[in-house]
């Protein structure tokens, strides 16, 4: 995309295109313009819809409040992007021009220090840090909600929060964590590290890279507004018709998902194109680092998956505003239509979350065991097999929905088949560990935790996918425990391992080891206590998403709550370590782990275009080990 002569950037003075609007726009102007747009939309819609307000008796009258709120939310998002200067480039194209070289260099944030993190900055390393901070914020918010949920459930009859607040906590915890987990590895590491790993100057579409982050950013205040609009009563699955009858907070959920889907489409397209088109000379497909393969398969899987969720939310929005009745059985629609659209996204989505986490750990193991990755081909077959099968299993979430019971058998077959490619991922990890002496550093610890957690998550998934067992377990706490073992125990553990591993390259400093170890044990022990307790509650027959329960579940819930506080303490320590080490940690050498991938061949701070001269690759990065 960039037309710069890359080799001469270092000799240039810091550019400052004096008369360009670009230099004056930043996050602050974005917020101001966003609020102005939202306010204009609010008053325009409110006044133009006034005529409808006195016809409440007619069931087909539009719901003016929902129209006004949804319109204002989308106006905020667009206004913010206008205000931060996202559309300056496209505008220039429309009038037959483009940005000048100076402006492009300015947009890349060259020589602007910390300010560039608050601008529409096209440097992939800046976008990576923005994603990292965004992910940590979302995880912090979602984790706090989880603590409140567990506090309410500590004892039967607990009324730490009201029923409305509790239901909102359940839904907002869910969607906040899902959004955070979708971007947890591909956001920070996929943007910051991956282009360097493949030997590229930048991403394929730097301006779209900035767009993907700032679009996502506009979704965060929208999601938070749900809280002030009365919350959401539906859980993160937002099943219709409950979502259609829900109060004004639901509009925030609808708008968040639509905005987020745009962000993932842009990011997915950008990452896929970068990996396909911008690998350096000699990096054939069988020499690409496994993290790059995993992230690419993950985002490529997201590209077809998310539009169905977006569509389902557009329809929910229409049902809520213009009474279209897509999901209302009383008007000829169907709640099953919603469930299908949701899970056609929902099941690929869990693998979109899982695969980058596993891939990060596969990058870590060979370095710390000093052995080649065991069976690189099996790893790729595992990822590709999971991605391929994952689009054919969605209705295992609907075994007991009553929809097409004769399809339960076929969906059970595809679901159980997923254990085969998943088994290959285990084989690659244990094959690499076999006969090795693992170097016990923070990133390596995550590998051990991952194997234990994902094993439990995987085995419990095998019973859940068997229809007769699901008839008992579906919708119980058992399911909640199962998917937390896979999404948190496996995917988040992988991402934390990735953070410990790439932290020196992203911040120039080592992550505080002592705090890292303490945090690791608090989180992992707490996590296992928490969710083993929840398996117990589910097997005993406690439904999920309940704010209260019978006395028979008191022990298992108490165990879970104790474990949850352990996780909470551990995560706070980790957060402290990340923030503290960022400015006060020991200075990291260029290649602290002795790894062979390309990101460790560049200094910190990584130069604007990563490499002075693109490297040439002659082998894959796993050439460790003695011949004998």
């Amino acid at each position: 995309m960039s037309t710069l002569d890359m080799t001469s950037t270092h000799s240039r003075p810091v550019p400052h295109p004096k008369r360009s609007l670009i230099t004056r726009l930043h996050m602050g102007t974005g917020v101001v313009v966003g609020i102005i747009f939202a306010a204009l939309a609010y008053y325009a819609l409110k006044s133009s819809l006034l005529t409808y307000t006195d016809k409440v008796a007619d069931p087909l009258t539009p719901h003016t409040d929902n129209i006004v709120l949804l319109g204002s939310m989308f106006a905020w998002s667009i206004g913010f992007l206008v205000g931060i200067g996202a559309f300056i480039g496209p505008w220039r194209w429309m009038i037959g021009k483009d940005l000048t070289d100076e402006e492009i260099l300015y947009m890349a944030g060259d020589g602007q220090g910390i300010k560039r993190y608050f601008k529409y900055c096209t440097d992939h390393k800046v976008v990576g840090i923005q994603y990292l901070v965004g992910v940590m914020t979302l995880l912090g918010v979602g984790g706090t909600m989880a603590m409140m949920i567990r506090t309410n459930l500590a004892r039967p009859g607990g009324h730490f929060v009201t029923a409305t607040v509790y239901n909102s906590l359940v839904g907002l915890h869910g969607i906040t964590m899902i959004i955070a987990m979708i971007i947890v590895a591909t956001g920070p590491f996929g943007n910051y590290i991956m282009p360097i790993m493949i030997g590229a100057y930048d991403m394929a579409f730097p301006r779209l890279n900035a767009l993907s982050w700032w679009v996502l950013f506009t979704a965060i205040p929208v999601l938070c507004s749900a809280w002030f609009l009365g919350g959401i009563p539906t859980g993160w699955t937002a099943y219709a018709p409950l979502s259609v009858q829900a109060g004004p907070g639901m509009n925030a959920f609808v708008a968040t998902i639509i905005i987020f889907a745009v962000s993932t489409a842009v990011a997915g397209m950008n990452i896929t194109t970068t990996v396909v088109a911008m690998r350096t000379k000699g990096m054939k497909w069988n020499r690409v680092p496994i993290f790059v393969i995993g992230s690419t398969i993950s985002v490529a899987l997201a590209i077809p998956a998310f539009p169905t969720f977006m569509l389902a939310m557009v329809q929910t929005g229409l049902d809520r505003t213009f009474n279209t009745g897509f999901f209302d059985a009383n008007m000829g629609g169907s709640g099953w239509l919603y469930a299908n659209l949701f899970w056609i996204m929902g099941h690929p989505e869990v693998y979109v979350i899982l695969i980058p986490g596993v891939a990060a750990l596969m990058e870590i193991v060979p370095v710390f065991v000093r052995k080649p990755l065991f069976s690189y081909n099996a790893a790729i077959m595992g990822f590709a097999g999971i991605a391929g099968l994952s689009v054919l299993v969605w209705a295992h979430h609907m075994y007991i929905a009553g929809w097409a019971p004769s399809l339960n058998g076929p969906f059970m077959v595809t679901t159980e088949m997923i254990s085969i490619p998943t088994g290959l991922l285990f084989l690659v990890l244990i094959g690499t560990l076999w006969r090795g002496k693992p170097w016990m550093k923070l990133p390596m610890l995550s590998v051990f935790a991952f194997i234990w957690d994902f094993l439990i998550g995987g085995i419990t998934g095998i019973y859940l996918s068997d229809v007769p067992a699901d008839g008992y377990l579906h919708g119980s706490m058992y399911v909640t425990a199962h998917f937390h073992f896979t999404l948190m125990g496996a995917a988040l553990t992988g991402a934390i391992g990735g953070l410990a591993y790439w932290y020196p390259k992203m911040t120039g400093r080592m992550l505080n080891e002592r705090a890292g170890y303490i945090s690791f044990w608090f989180v992992q022990i707490g996590f296992n206590v928490l969710f083993l307790g929840m398996f117990m509650a589910g097997a005993e027959g406690q439904p999920r998403r309940v704010m209260d329960y019978a006395a028979v579940f008191a022990h298992s819930n108490m165990i879970s709550t104790i474990g949850a506080y352990g996780v909470g303490i551990g995560m706070i320590i980790l957060l402290w370590a990340v923030i503290h080490s960022w400015t006060k940690g020991t200075i990291a050498p260029m290649n602290p782990w002795g790894a062979k991938t390309l990101e460790w061949t560049v200094p910190y701070p990584v130069p604007l275009t990563n490499f002075d001269e693109l490297p040439v690759i002659t082998s894959d990065p796993y050439g460790y080990g003695k011949g004998k």
Partner: protein, 263 residues
Amino acid sequence: MADHIEQQLAPTPGERTAIFFKRTDVVRTSLLFIFWTAVFVVLGVVFYPKWMPLVMSTELKSAEAIMVWFTVISAPIAGLVLAITSNAFLNMHRGDTPPPDGPAVRTNGPVVAVWTITSLLFALVAIIWGLTEMNGQAVAAARDAKSAITVEVTGSQWLWTFNYPAQGIETHELNLPVGVPVVFDVKSADVNHSFWPVQLGVKVDANAQVTTVIHTTPTKIGAIDVKCAELCGLYHAYMETNGAVMSKDDFNAWVTAQGGHNA
């Protein structure tokens, strides 16, 4: 650190096998394998039956059997994974410099093949087991259709209502005669709910405008908890009621007391 792999003569197949299956590692891993397999067998066999409620139908029995036996069958696989992992953990290298390089094993064809075939067989066992159980339940339901009593279940925010058309009664508690097959016709008056008589081990969603059906046969006398397993709004947690599986005489007496007539 060497920048390139040292060029050496390729080892013979026999040497390669000796490198891959080094005796000390094999012995230690085997012991750990026995330990972890035993742990998983005990977890499955002891804890699930302990945690699960009183089994009052063939459906719950079959769900419990899947949970117990799948754990037992998968125990050797989990045992192997954890044995290799914990063996590596015990071999850990500490300190600020990387450990010496390990053997440069890039893959091992037979190991990958055996692993893949084993996981395929395991998946087939799970699939065949599940399909056989489903088929058995479908056959039983068809066979029992004539002798079954029908209960029409309606979920509404946040209440269960049970209508016994043949007996002509409507209640909010679910009482059933033991040993008599029962068909639940489930629907919703508003949003989605999920009808879950816990001790009977079956579940089906309640949807507006459509009737969903499940079958079961209570096999034991005892109390039933009926819960809602699909988030249905504000008081989802409290959308529960009681009931019982009772002897036929008790059931008939209860129907009469409710003002119904015995079919």
